[in-house]
């Protein structure tokens, strides 16, 4: 039963019925672990498509005119690449994948609060992916307006997919939002309401805090995207003018599907709605990756995360402030100039809690006992790349500096470092770390190191040069730079170099996927808790955990999740569910 009280029934946890057939075990599974793997598999497949699209784009930029890539194809590729990577890969895998797997295990629950809704959410996600790729099948192909889908161009000829592609895109995103809401309600309710005995909020591992707060952000930010999408769809389908002003294009006044003219709409309204969602969205991706890194660093440096309380407060501060910075994406959009002062200030304010987190990770390493295994490598690499990316953000948040850097490759370099390389490093580090729990085997170390170093080098070889392209004024969303006299030959050469590097790094990502699949079948089997971690997910009786996680009674938590290297203790770790009287440490 779902009573939230401190009586005996809490030790039992919720009653689950165990599935017997193949269909209810693997297709319509209500086990959070299976749902997590379903989410992750679909997300990784869409990621593969995203990488292929990025290679198409880079081939055009490095070797314009050599490959038969038309401007239409190019712009459709950047749009699909952006939407896939941000929403269908990163958001889905961090929240749907990691969130689903880790939350019940780490808080000591048998499953999510509403397993049926959980199951529905992954199926809706799958439908949204089908709709997204369905836009390749409609006349005109996918929309090519950039992942930001700005009106009026997105609905007008002159932009690919302005007739059917945009409809498919909006429908896909709307279904995704429904899937996300269903999943998100589950994660928030589960974290708030169904923790085990002794598991206070301040004893939750940081990764759970991060995923919880990221979900809260999502539940409050995705509505703005849904509304913007609905209004854009109506502009397209019923000829309303929410975002469409009076337009004179190609020598004639533009009319809608019913033959009347558009008029009176505001393109800036769309931008405000989109970025009210868009900025919190990057924190939806960033927060889980922060959490994963916290777990990896503390476990593999055998040291408690430095300043746990401050980390939690920093997360709450980031969550709150993330809702009042959105217009730093619109500094040169033509909004009231006074807003520039406000949003520049809030943007640089959010740098403060973020940097506290970076300091605390570094201070966790300090005086630690660092084991340089593959997950730790990924975590260290993350610190470096996130540092670069975050510092790049300082340039763009400072409004007057942003005036000259906006819409240039500086922006592209910045967001690819913080939203591309850093999440991939966190993702791969997290998968390496939790792979033994999920499968009972470890992933191959050599392949992991090769993948890590190539990807890490990629950050420097691909995206650091992009910052310089941006300083040189090279603009984004340009299909061809030939004929521009201010783009010097050295900048053009740099474009070629970036293309070559990105092709190599793109192919290297398949090494990770190969490692994942190969190790599932042939990886070295290990005993439980190979990393000797303190958190609850490693304390299940079997590895991988069975349906219901703890077959008999739920664990009771007696301590915080970071009792590593406790002075006077024999082992260098004490699991969370170890009773107080063991290891007689007194505060």
């Amino acid at each position: 039963m779902e009573y939230a009280s401190s009586d005996e029934s809490v030790y039992e946890g919720q009653k689950l019925s165990h599935p017997k057939s193949w269909v209810t075990k693997y297709i319509f599974s209500q086990d959070h672990k299976t749902v997590a793997i379903q989410y992750s598999s679909i997300a990784l497949l869409t990621g593969v498509a995203g990488v292929i699209l990025s290679i198409i784009m880079r081939l055009q930029l490095g070797y314009p005119g050599v490959f038969d890539i038309s401007a239409d194809t190019y712009y459709q590729s950047i749009t699909m690449h952006g939407m896939i990577m941000v929403i269908y890969l990163l958001t889905a895998i961090f929240l749907g994948g990691f969130g689903n797997y880790l939350i019940p295990l780490m808080i000591g629950a048998r499953d999510m609060a509403f397993p049926f809704v959980n199951m529905m959410s992954v199926h809706f996600y799958a439908i949204s992916v089908l709709l997204l790729f369905g836009s390749y099948l409609v006349p005109g192909g996918p929309t090519g307006a950039g992942w930001t889908l700005y009106p009026p161009q997105v609905l007008l000829p002159g932009t690919p997919g302005y007739d059917w592609g945009i409809i498919m895109m909006i429908l896909s995103v709307a279904v995704f939002i429904i899937a996300f809401t269903m999943g998100g309600l589950n994660y928030v309710t589960t974290v708030l309401q169904s923790r085990t005995r002794g598991m206070t909020l301040m004893r939750m591992p940081l990764v759970i805090w991060c995923i919880f707060l990221a979900t809260v952000i999502g539940l409050l930010a995705f509505p703005a995207l849904l509304v913007a999408g609905v209004m854009l769809l109506l502009d397209r389908v019923v000829g309303s003018s929410f975002f469409m002003p009076d337009i004179f294009q190609f020598g004639q006044h533009v009319t809608n599907v019913f033959g009347t003219e558009y008029e009176g709409g505001s393109p800036l309204l769309f931008q405000h709605l989109f970025w009210f969602f868009g900025h919190p969205e990057v924190y939806i991706v960033a927060l889980p990756m922060f959490g994963i890194i916290s777990e990896l660093i503390s476990c593999h440096a055998r040291k408690n995360i430095f300043g746990y309380r401050m980390m939690v407060w920093a997360l709450i501060a980031i969550t709150a402030v993330s809702f009042i910075v959105w217009a730093h994406h619109m500094f040169v959009a033509g909004m009231n100039p006074v807003l520039g002062f406000f949003f520049a200030t809030t943007t640089l304010i959010i740098a403060i809690p973020t940097s506290i987190k970076v300091y605390n990770w570094v201070l966790t390493l300090w005086k630690g006992d660092i084991h340089m295994n593959v997950p730790m490598l990924y975590a260290i690499g993350f610190i470096f790349t996130f540092l670069i990316g975050g510092l790049g953000g300082l340039f763009l948040g400072n409004v007057s500096v942003d005036v000259e850097l906006s819409d240039t490759y500086f922006v592209v370099g910045h967001f690819h470092v913080v939203m591309g390389i850093s999440p991939i490093l966190a993702l791969c580090g997290g998968i390496h770390h939790w792979f033994p729990l999920i499968t009972g085997r470890v992933m191959n170390d050599t392949l992991g190191k090769v993948h890590f170093w190539a990807t890490f080098a990629g950050a420097y070889l691909i995206y650091l040069p992009m910052h310089y392209l941006g300083l040189g004024g090279v603009l984004r969303r340009y299909y061809d730079f030939r004929g521009l006299s201010y783009v010097s030959e050295s900048l053009t050469d740099m474009n070629v170099f970036i293309t070559l590097a990105s092709i190599v790094v793109g192919i290297v990502q398949f090494i990770f996927l190969f490692n994942l699949i190969w190790s599932y079948f042939k990886g070295r089997q290990v005993n439980s808790n190979p990393w000797r971690a303190t958190t609850l997910e490693w304390q299940t009786p079997s590895m991988p955990p069975s349906h219901g996680n703890w077959p008999t009674k739920l664990p009771i938590v007696h301590r915080w999740p970071y009792d590593y290297s406790v002075p006077g203790a024999l082992q260098d770790y004490i699991p969370q569910n170890t009773p107080d009287n063991i290891d007689d440490y007194e505060s």
Binding site: E2, Q193, V227, V238, F242, G264, H272, L273, V566, S587
Partner: protein, 232 residues
């Protein structure tokens, strides 16, 4: 060793600080933050998210209304009913609001009855609420028909003024009407289960309160739509 949260124990800590500390201890306590059942917590969280949806619709509407160049129609004339020879402004809306608010009243009575485990009374009251919702939908449909067929209001144009008037009207009332319709179906299912004695067998009527939350939300949204779209 338990990680003792390093709470300030200065003898001269202020009253506010103690209150905040107590709040933190309460909300971070083990097992559950809010001492309610999971379904009720989830409904509240869903409603917060839905509030953002309607809030965004209304804020967008206000932003557009403030910036269109064409004049905005006078709602008291557009939404007037011709009764007994005179135009009565906003009559239909007033009736719709009365019906919806009354249905919230019957819902509150239903929740009250369910807490006392009165099967028949609470079931009937839920049905009355659903019926109120159905009447609301019917009147909204009548309003739409009148505007579309008689006045020629379309999402892309209307005879009264700014084109966005029609599009916002249909979009916002459409989404609200959709939520009311879902609520009517939801409440009918709950009412059926109540009357069949399902919750007597489980000895647990809490679902009525959870569905009541949803219905009050739908009503509250209508109040805001009524205020911002019709009265302003």
């Amino acid at each position: 060793m338990t990680m003792r949260v390093n709470m300030n124990t200065h003898s001269n800590s202020s009253l506010i600080k103690t209150h905040i500390q107590d709040l933190i201890v309460d909300w971070s306590s083990d097992v559950s933050t809010f001492k309610v059942r999971w379904s009720k917590a989830m409904m509240w969280i869903f409603l917060i998210s839905d509030t953002f949806i309607f809030g965004t619709f209304l804020i967008s509407y206000m932003a557009v209304r403030l910036t269109v160049i064409d004049p905005w129609p006078d709602t008291s004339q557009v939404f007037a009913l011709h009764v007994g020879g005179t135009d009565v402004p906003l009559l239909l809306i007033a009736i719709m609001t009365f019906v919806l608010i009354s249905s919230s009243g019957t819902m509150a009575l239903a929740v009250n009855a369910s807490q006392k485990k009165l099967r028949l009374r609470s079931g009937v009251l839920i049905l009355l609420t659903a019926f109120g919702g159905l009447m609301f939908i019917g009147m909204q449909a009548f309003e739409w028909t009148k505007l579309i067929v008689d006045e020629g209001v379309r999402p892309w144009a209307n005879a009264f003024g700014a084109q966005q008037f029609g599009s916002f009207f249909f979009m916002i009332t459409g989404f609200h009407g959709l939520h009311v319709t879902i609520g009517v179906i939801y409440l009918s299912v709950i009412a059926k289960r109540v009357l069949q004695g399902r919750y007597d067998r489980l000895n647990d009527y809490q679902i009525v309160e959870v569905s009541g939350l949803y219905w009050h939300f739908v009503d509250l949204v209508w109040v805001f739509i009524f205020a911002f779209f019709y009265l302003w």
